[in-house]
């Protein structure tokens, strides 16, 4: 089933938000938060889960 079908249900705005950044996370858990879906925020990263 294609993604397009489910996206059509979205009830939010179409106004693009500013870039979302992750928090630093929890230092002692940094590498353990494997399923945290944390933001991989590139050059602005302060989320240590990404690196």
């Amino acid at each position: 089933m294609a993604l397009t079908n489910i996206l059509s249900l979205y009830k939010g705005t179409n106004i693009l938000g500013s870039k979302i950044m992750g928090l630093k996370g929890i230092s002692t858990m940094a590498n353990s938060l494997l399923d945290c879906n944390c933001i991989d925020c590139g050059e602005d990263a302060n989320c240590i889960n990404c690196d």
């Binding site: 009830k11 870039k19 928090l23 590498n31 879906n37």
Partner: protein, 346 residues
């Protein structure tokens, strides 16, 4: 190429649990990723710049070639993690084999606070095995193991039982994840009461303050549902983690048949019915720039409500899991949340 930071490989849809809230509950079957396909997917993720691969399922520890696959991923200089229910690690020889293969981190998802509850939620007797698995990993010196627990409601007794279980078994490092919608085409999803769950964060904070357990919360709904002072304390303590990579386009999931998913919660809604993961790296890269992928990223990165535009918490909130707004009206809910005594703007 620096296209994808984190890749997830759905190595099998087999599972030894049948959790009632599972996002793949309609896809639990025996579909398994061919081992050569797994290796080729790793190669492609490597070319796309991936730094970490997470093995998911189903239950990834049921994948026959898991140790060899871990070794292969490590040989490419990519970190590898496993998201597991932990039961297989109750076999200490298996635990040793996986650790020796070079896994970097393991997250064990707890499915209940007692055997009775575990059985009720998963149709399996697995709690003792999961805790034994956690202990075995610690026993063999593997400390990069964490736990996760999905919170589905504001049941204080249940949470108290969970904390008791955590303390009794000396469990460390736990991620509390608030439930996310199971995607369905029809508007028949279980609607959660965001206001109640937001208020429950205060209970969690106060309760956990009295423990020595390191924890964090993945809040899948707007942070304006949480008491502002409690929220600030939790932010200061680095206890809040954001919950979506989709708007950045830096994560990619390979399903067992090499269809590509934007997130493991989209198990039934791949980017395309075509098996894009079988294409060449440059073709995959081009696909990730295609209209449907851009549309998805824009949708995930949009403000759910205009009321979010000026909110100073937006960078860490992002409105929560955007799939919630397939089933609930963000304007109505966020207006109610902000109209109260929390983080109020009107």
């Amino acid at each position: 190429m620096d296209k994808i930071r984190t890749g997830w490989l759905t190595v099998t849809r087999k599972c030894n649990n049948y959790c009632e809230w599972c996002y793949t509950q309609n896809k639990l079957n025996c579909e398994t990723m061919d081992y050569n396909d797994a290796l080729s997917s790793v190669d492609k993720l490597y070319e796309l710049g991936t730094k970490r691969i997470v093995l998911i399922g189903g239950e990834p520890t049921l994948y026959n070639n898991i140790a060899d696959l871990i070794k292969y991923i490590v040989s490419k200089g990519i970190k590898v993690s496993i998201a597991s229910n932990g039961r297989k690690f109750s076999d200490i020889d298996f635990a040793k084999r996986i650790v020796e293969a070079g896994v970097n981190s393991i997250n064990i998802s707890l499915k209940g606070t007692s055997e009775y509850e575990y059985l009720k939620y998963t149709k399996s007797n697995g709690l003792t095995e999961a805790i034994q698995g956690y202990n075995n990993l610690k026993k063999i010196g593997f400390n990069n193991v964490s736990l996760s627990y999905v919170i589905v409601d504001d049941d204080k007794t249940n949470f108290d039982n969970l904390v008791e279980l955590i303390e009794k078994n000396d469990l460390k490092n736990i991620v509390f994840q608030f439930v996310k919608p199971v995607l369905k085409l029809k508007d028949e999803n279980d609607i959660v009461d965001i206001k109640k769950l937001g208020a429950f964060v205060t209970y969690i904070y106060e309760k956990m303050k009295r423990t020595k357990t390191n924890y964090c919360l993945e809040i899948s709904f707007p942070l304006c549902s949480v008491d502002e002072k409690i929220l600030q304390k939790m932010i200061d303590e680095n206890r809040i983690i954001t919950c979506c990579h989709i708007s950045t386009g830096k994560g990619l999931i390979f399903d067992t048949d090499l269809k590509l998913l934007p997130c493991n919660h989209f198990a039934e809604f791949p980017y395309s019915d075509e098996k894009i993961g079988r294409l060449s790296v440059s073709e995959i890269s081009d696909f990730l720039d295609s209209d449907i992928c851009v549309k998805l990223r824009k949708t995930a990165g949009s403000y759910p409500s205009k009321l979010c535009i000026d909110c100073d918490k937006w960078p860490i909130c992002g409105g929560g899991c955007f799939t919630r707004w397939f089933y609930q009206e963000p304007d109505k809910i966020i207006r109610e949340l902000k109209g109260g005594d929390v983080n109020g703007i009107n």
